[in-house]
C-alpha cells in the first residue's frame, strides 16, 4: 500500500450523457482504488449535479458518432440534429444500449461517487450565472471557486480537465 494517499482532481465542464461518463467513471474508480477524489463542476458540468436531471446526447458536430444498429453502424449526419426529436431518440437508443451492455447508468455512477466520499464542488460563479441554488442539486456538493480548485490541484497527483 502506498505510504501516503494519492489525490486526484477533475474539472467537469460538460453535462451531456456521453460527456458525463468519463469524469464519473474515473472518479468512482479512483475512489475505489483508495485515492482522495475531488470533482469541480463548472459551466454545463453543473447540470450533472441537478436533482432532476435527464442527460441527453447531441448528434450535432459529433461527426464520429455511430450507433450500432442491426449489425451495422449508423452515422449521425449534422442535418439530422435539426429535426425535432432526433437528439431525444438518439439519447433513448444510447440509454437502451447502456442497459443492454451492463454499463452503469449515470445516476448509478453519481450515487457511487457520493457513497465513496468523492468531494463534489459546485462552481459558485456558474451557479450564479445559470441561476441555480444548492437546493436544485443532489445532497453533497459544496460551493467553491477557482481558488478552491487550485488549492486542491496543487495537492493532487492527477489533475484532469474534461
Amino acid at each position: 500500500m502506498a505510504a501516503e494517499t494519492k489525490c486526484m482532481s477533475i474539472i467537469v465542464t460538460k453535462g451531456s450523457l456521453d460527456w458525463g461518463y468519463p469524469p464519473f467513471i474515473l472518479a468512482t474508480t479512483a475512489a475505489a482504488m483508495g485515492l482522495n477524489v475531488t470533482m469541480f463542476f463548472t459551466f454545463y458540468g453543473l447540470s450533472l449535479l441537478l436533482r432532476d436531471f435527464n442527460p441527453q446526447i447531441s448528434t450535432l458536430g459529433n461527426t464520429a458518432m455511430k450507433l450500432p444498429m442491426g449489425g451495422m453502424h449508423m452515422a449521425m449526419p449534422n442535418m439530422l440534429s435539426a429535426i425535432p426529436g432526433v437528439d431525444a431518440a438518439a439519447s433513448v437508443m444510447m440509454k437502451n444500449l447502456i442497459k443492454k451492455k451492463g454499463v452503469a447508468s449515470l445516476e448509478e455512477l453519481r450515487e457511487a461517487a457520493v457513497d465513496s466520499d468523492v468531494r463534489l464542488i459546485a462552481c459558485q460563479m456558474t451557479m450564479d450565472l445559470f441561476e441555480y441554488g444548492l437546493e436544485d442539486m443532489i445532497e453533497g456538493p459544496e460551493l467553491g471557486g477557482a481558488a478552491t480548485y487550485i488549492e486542491c490541484a496543487t495537492q493532487s497527483d492527477i489533475n484532469l480537465f474534461i
Partner: protein
C-alpha cells in the same frame, strides 16, 4: 473456498471494480474475495486495482467466457 464471492457477470467497466471494492469492505483482513466477471477489460483492471491498492491477486483464470479473480485483502 473464498470468504466471499462476487458475481459481476454481465457488468461492464467500471462496475466490477466498484462492486469488488464494496465487497472487500466486508471481507476481513487476510480474507479472500472471489470475483466472477465477463468483462474482458477486467483482466487488466483487476491487476491494476490490486497493484494500486496493495491487495494480493492470488489467482486469475478464465473458463469459457467467465474470468475469475481471487483477491486477498491485505489491509
Amino acid at each position: 473456498m473464498a470468504d466471499q464471492v462476487l458475481d459481476a457477470k454481465g457488468l461492464n467497466c467500471p462496475l466490477p471494480i466498484l462492486k469488488a471494492k464494496k465487497a472487500l469492505n466486508s471481507v476481513p483482513t487476510d480474507g479472500t474475495l472471489e470475483v466472477l466477471s465477463t468483462d474482458p477489460g477486467s483482466v487488466a483492471d483487476f491487476q491494476a486495482f490490486c497493484r494500486t491498492t496493495g491487495n494480493d491477486l492470488l489467482e486469475h483464470d478464465q473458463t469459457d467466457d467467465v474470468y475469475r479473480f481471487l483477491i486477498k485483502k491485505t489491509g
